[in-house]
């Protein structure tokens, strides 16, 4: 990242550190000194940014976070514009409520990444924890737009209560992927855990690698060509993901519909190479 604001974490914090105040649009035009005085929630206390970070540069819609950020939560929360780049791992709730812009994490992230996402792009270089793109406990609205790309694998319950948007997983997915899903699409190149699409009402789980093992409340709709897959694959062409070069000779796929206990308008699609 050339220019922009750089935050270097001096040491791994003992407690969770909430970075939600540090979004590009909130910091726009602020100097490094001003940013260093912003208060962050740290356990039961509030601490200035400067207590944990070396701050350099100035905020011009780009923020770089360096260091072991495993305990840095809510990075890019409610972000609307600009770009955040994390060199290393990030904590939980990455990009929660994000509406636009872009977040790049070179490492792995913890649970609830992209929860409530409505726009923008989140790219996770390694793995994502449980509840990727899912709704928070007690809420009924998970991801509702935007794109999430995961270079590695994701944990359990990805896309729980997801409504719209796209998640591309280049690795494997955990158990109950797409649980309670109401719309949107998740595609994966790796294997999928147990009970994909459990209690989903609508939406698409696309398996571009190994075939899934649908639960008993999914019906096998057989093999048939689906033209919309061409539109879907073409929309990936510009994305920074292995899905951009996904090559399939035919749109003839194996399809299961379900969850039949919840309306049955969701679908599991196996589109092997």
């Amino acid at each position: 990242m050339s220019g922009g604001l750089a935050l270097r974490l001096r040491a791994a914090p003992t407690f969770r550190l909430d970075l939600s105040p540090l979004t590009p649009e909130r910091l726009a035009g602020q100097s490094a000194d001003a940013v260093a005085r912003i208060l962050l929630a740290y356990g039961r206390r509030s601490v200035p940014v400067g207590e944990w970070f070396d701050v350099r540069g100035s905020a011009d819609r780009q923020i770089l976070i360096e260091g072991d950020a495993t305990r840095l939560d809510r990075i890019g929360a409610d972000m609307q514009d600009g770009q955040i780049r994390v060199e290393g791992n990030a904590g939980a709730y990455l990009g929660i409520g994000m509406r636009g812009g872009r977040i790049d994490v070179s490492g792995s992230v913890d649970a609830y990444a992209a929860s409530g996402l409505t726009g923008g792009l989140v790219r996770i270089g390694a793995h994502a924890g449980d509840y990727l793109g899912a709704a928070l406990p007690g809420e009924h609205r998970g991801m509702r737009g935007g794109v999430v790309i995961v270079g590695g694998s994701v944990g359990d319950r990805a896309c729980d209560h997801m409504r719209r948007g796209l998640i591309l997983v280049e690795g494997a997915c955990g158990d109950y992927c797409g649980s309670r899903m109401q719309g949107g699409t998740i595609a994966m190149l790796g294997a999928c855990g147990a009970r994909p699409g459990f209690s989903m009402r609508r939406g698409t789980l696309l398996f571009a690698g190994p075939a899934p093992s649908p639960g008993p409340t999914f019906n096998d709709a057989g093999a048939l060509p689906l033209g919309f897959l061409v539109l879907l694959a073409r929309s990936w062409k510009e994305l920074p993901s292995r899905f951009a070069s996904l090559s399939r000779l035919s749109t003839r796929v194996q399809r299961w519909v379900g969850d039949l206990a919840f309306g049955g308008q969701g679908e599991l699609i196996h589109w092997p190479g």
Partner: protein, 298 residues
């Protein structure tokens, strides 16, 4: 002004503001895409009786369409946005949805939205599926050969209708030959269509009639059989007259199309039996857009 033996009248075509849209129809083969487009643009020669003027703009190969299948671009023009929306829904619903393997997409990026799949989806009786892909919503409507894919909305554009020119020839054969040559040249222009059968109208009309219920009637000044009966535009050397009407998404498209057609007619020339080129107008009082013939030639 005379070009290659053809006399060019010192007159202009008078065109009007319309509303237009472009949709892209794709199918498993070029033939089926074309069949859907032909059905959709049938009975769409004039807003006077058809509600909409429509035609095939051009054929598209697989690399030019959203779903990678062969397709056809269709243009539709109406005098109001509500009529355009009504005709689009009706024609896509009856002619494209019904065509084997077809799909339909918006062919204009920006503009006021016209419902496309948004209303046609109800044919799916609740089994239809919505997919937002790349920021655009598509509907997957189950049909007997799989799924009918329709983009949620098409976009509407300001447009121009009623560009025209009139070919006056010594006989039927040279008139037809010149008109066909003009249409072939004009079909290479993007953003414009010629809505009449084969692009050519033999029943040019004037506004009004002796019969109070008619809003348009035969253009008697250009009818060869009335040469001796009315204040005719035709000399003794003209036996056959054809009119070509052009609708376009932009003024430039109409201008380019007219120019291509006029040049093709002049290429046939006086030696080929073409006597004059003229154009229809209302004295410049009704239409906002004027296209003087002599500025488009040679």
């Amino acid at each position: 002004m005379i070009v290659n033996g053809v006399s060019i009248d010192d007159t202009f075509a008078e065109a009007f503001a319309m509303r237009g849209t472009r949709v892209i129809i794709t199918a498993h083969t070029p033939a089926w895409a074309r069949q859907a487009a032909v059905s959709m643009t049938g009975f769409a020669t004039s807003v006077i009786g058809c509600g909409v003027e429509a035609g095939i703009e051009r054929e598209l190969d697989a690399a030019q369409t959203p779903d990678g299948r062969p397709g056809v671009a269709v243009l539709l023009f109406a005098t109001s946005s509500s009529e355009l929306a009504k005709q689009l829904e009706r024609r896509v619903g009856q002619c494209v949805l019904t065509t084997p393997t077809s799909a339909v997409f918006s062919g204009i990026e920006a503009g006021r939205a016209l419902p496309l799949g948004k209303t046609l989806r109800y044919f799916g009786d609740g089994y239809q599926i919505s997919k937002v892909i790349g920021g655009r919503r598509y509907w997957r409507v189950p049909v007997m050969d799989g799924e009918f894919i329709a983009e949620d909305t098409a976009a509407m554009s300001d447009a121009i209708g009623g560009g025209n020119f009139i070919i006056l020839a010594a006989a039927t054969s040279p008139a037809l030959a010149a008109a066909e040559a003009a249409i072939e040249a004009m079909r290479r222009v993007s953003g414009a269509i010629m809505p009449f059968p084969g692009g050519v109208a033999r029943s040019g009309s004037k506004v009004g009639s002796k019969y109070k219920t008619l809003i348009a009637s035969t253009n008697h000044a250009f009818c060869p059989t009335l040469r001796a009966s009315v204040d005719s535009e035709l000399g003794a050397d003209v036996e056959c007259v054809y009119e070509i009407v052009i609708d376009g998404l932009t003024e430039q498209a109409v201008r380019d199309s007219m120019q291509a057609g006029l040049r093709a007619v002049c290429a046939v020339g006086g030696a080929g039996g073409i006597r004059r080129l003229s154009a229809g107008n209302y004295g410049g009082k009704l239409g906002k857009f004027h296209f003087p013939l002599r500025t488009l030639l040679p």
